[in-house]
């Protein structure tokens, strides 16, 4: 896929970092402010998709990105699975909030909830990236 003009490339490079960190902010503060893993994950993936569309990508690179996105996607859900299973392994309940709850409205509070948000953030951002990449690949092969 070809990239866009130099203006778009420069602006998107400047913006991508901001978008990325804004997404991380939404994920990390998910238990205190509106947002959370899903919303933040979508913003994070927005940064990557912006870069891919603005700068263009060649076939070899897109497959590498797809593999990495697939790996991150699985590891995100796997992290979520591990967090929820630890409670079960401790002999109590699935999804037990086994960490200390902390002081409300602090960044380190609410036990496992922020960890779950981070796991969901990884999963959603990687999944959305792979969906967009899948659409790009489909567009290439539709002339058969």
């Amino acid at each position: 896929m070809k990239g866009m003009t130099e203006i778009v490339k420069t602006i998107s490079r400047l913006l991508a970092g901001l978008i990325f960190f804004y997404g991380i902010y939404i994920v990390v503060f998910g238990h205190l402010t509106p947002g959370g893993g899903f919303a933040g994950g979508i913003v994070i993936s927005g940064a990557f998709i912006l870069l891919i569309i603005a700068n263009g990508i060649d076939e070899e690179k897109i497959n590498r990105v797809r593999e990495k996105a697939g790996f991150l996607e699985s590891s995100g859900i796997f992290l979520f699975w591990v967090i929820s299973t630890i409670g079960l392994c401790m002999g109590t309940f699935f999804f037990l909030n086994f960490l200390g709850k902390g002081k409300p409205l602090n960044i380190f509070s609410a036990g496992t909830v922020p960890l779950c948000n981070i796991a969901i953030g990884i999963e959603v951002s990687a999944a959305l990236c792979s969906i967009v990449i899948a659409f790009m690949l489909v567009k290439k092969g539709d002339k058969k």
């Binding site: 699985s74 796997f78 699975w81 079960l88 309940f93 699935f94 999804f95």
Partner: protein
Amino acid sequence: MGSSSITQYLLPVLVVLPLGGALLIQLLKKVSKLISDIIANFILVVLVVLVFSLLNNPVLVYKVGGWMPVKGIPVGIYLVLDGLSLLLLIIINMIGLISLIFSISYMNKFTNKPLYYTLFLLMITGMNGVVLSGDLFNIYVFLEVAAIASYSLVAFGTEADELEASFKYQVMGTVASAFILLGIIIIYSITGTLNLADIGRVLKDKATETPLILTGILFLVGFGLKGAMMPFHAWLPDAHPSAPAPISAMLSGVLIKAIGIYVLVRIMFNVIGVTPIFSNMMLYISAISMTAGVFLAFAQWDFKRLLAYHSISQMGYVMLGIWLMTPLGILGGLFHMLNHSVFKSLLFLNSGAVVYGTGSRQLKRLGGLNQKMPVTGGTSLIASMSIAGLPPFNGFWSKLIIIMACIQSHHFFLAALAVLVSIMTLVSFLKVQRYAFFGELKQASKDIKEVPFAMCFSMILLAFLCTTMGVLLFPGAKELFIDPAVNVLLNGKGYISLVLSR
């Protein structure tokens, strides 16, 4: 509480373990080619051991997240294990394990084996969740997990006709889900709760007939589509043959029971309550499924498509038994459900072995395979006699009970129909045997070989089960496996107080 307080913590493991395995396979697929085989099979072995260790337990209730009921009213999601769930769990995990053993060799033909195992384990997760869950919306979520995994598995070969079948299946499946969701919405608007037992408790005090008739019809259409009952069957003959053979075995042998018939029966018998009109309607639907399925199967020359039509017909038997609503009928229906899962998955694995060996599933192009593939031929003969209901095999006993139950409840016409359909099934499978396995060996298939060990092993295992499962009717085994399930349905709304008291 005592020992049950420990055992109930095993219930979420049945859902959590295959889910974790599915993700682990994706993470570790780069390490070694064997690792996905090992993880998937290991997890299914653990699940089978776990399920059999849960036999002979009282009703177990697990409250997810530790949300205890407030003043006897449930607030969290319940997982409930009773006899009926256990029977379905046995079917799901046992057939799942045997199909997975078959897949070790069979799936080498396809690319991306780890993805196959991931989807397979997700399907197991969904089905285990559906049969364990005691919460209406939770059932819907797990149902979608299982269904979406099966959509992708049907399209796994990515040939044009497979993609088309999968698309058809997706459209019909989504329509079914919409109906089911609408039914759930109506029930929630009447009762204000989603817990199955609690819904039953609230409905007891309210006189709300009309909306319940509507939900009954919505659920009938929704789960009828999922379970391929006769007017809603059109997707099945496309979807089931298109999948890889072990998946066809899972779809026909397990999925249509777990997310179709089981949920409908559970909601109708244990929660809403069956009116005579509804049970009569279901009797007619099952009689039509039974007869029309076998007639449609008669004309097929595609091995797997023929088997798919027979699934519709045999599901008719299962429903006929259950919806007679007599103890004998329910016993026959549930026993036939267990038997059908065994012989139908064996037949689909046979068809997979034939495709693996010869590359074709058109009966007219096959012939004389017994000379080259003795294990496939022998096991398929056992399975054919089993599905046709010939005496020593398992299908005979369950069909006999169903026919006896029909006569006992004075449905003589249905009994005669069941006998007729059984004869038609026999004729249809004589055709399969004659064209595929007996007769002259075709020139094209002179140099074929018997399938690898893993495939032979799983087929022999299923054939062994086909021959011996009649013993489940003897005292001793009957009390352990089938009677608890029958009692759940006979108990009807007794389920409500049983669950709420835990």
